[in-house]
Amino acid sequence: MADVNRGNRPLSPFMIGQVYRPQITSVLSIIHRITGVAMAASGALIVWWFIAAATGEDYFEFADGLLTSWIGTLVMLASLWALWYHFCNGLRHLWWDLGRGFELDQVTRSGMVTLVASAVLTVFTVIVVM
């Protein structure tokens, strides 16, 4: 490779805040990653809940009790927001993949819409499934 300084340059996202001013685009981008990685745990928990339901009533009560305890509820609530955020920002990515919405004012606006929509969808989901 022609790039001889491979190991020494600041790498995204670790440059944000130290070398590079945080912007809505970069911050939302890293949140997309963080929510994606975090949902690995959410997915494993949900699969565990399904396996418990498939195993028997006693084991299901244990798994369901854990997921609906106050800490479980908190984790599920955070997972729900992560899901809606990743969903909204994912649609934003797919829109970009079509080659649209790349102007600065457009990415800022779609970023704000993503933040608001993920919060609204989270609250809406909680209200509907309660």
């Binding site: 997915g43 339901a53 498939a54 195993t55 599920m76 899901l83 994912g90 990515h93 499934v129």
Partner: protein, 126 residues
């Protein structure tokens, strides 16, 4: 002797030797998940914290079961692709990177298949 021309061996492949397969599969699963999430979240949210019998009944419904099966299969494949990129971006030691990539592939396959199995078992009468 090489029977394939240089051009033929290079067509469709980038520097990573797999072309845009990874990128494309991530997008295909993303489009599928955009729909599946909307169908998966409501019955799941309602079933969480419900009685055992009601949960079983929810996923004995063929529509809910099929959505859940598609969701697990697609989501864990999408997760595998995404985590792979994160590992490739941030983990640089060869041994650690290989170990994590292997663990990622195996664990995503495990949870995806386990989830599908659980739904099938419930749907066909656990």
């Amino acid at each position: 002797m090489q029977f394939r021309t240089d051009r033929q061996r290079a067509t469709g492949l980038g520097a990573a030797k797999e072309g845009v397969g990874h990128w494309w599969n991530q997008r295909v699963t993303a489009v599928a998940l955009a729909v599946l999430v909307l169908l998966f979240i409501w019955p799941l949210g309602s079933a969480l914290g419900e009685d055992y019998d009601e949960v079983l009944e929810t996923y004995r419904n063929p529509f809910n079961a099929i959505v859940a099966i598609l969701m697990f299969a697609t989501a864990f494949y999408h997760l595998k692709l995404g985590l792979q990129v994160v590992i490739e971006d941030y983990v640089h030691g060869k041994a650690m990177r290989t170990a994590l990539l292997l663990a990622n592939t195996l664990l995503c396959a495990f949870f995806g298949i386990a989830g599908v199995f659980a739904v099938v078992k419930i749907a066909l009468g656990a």
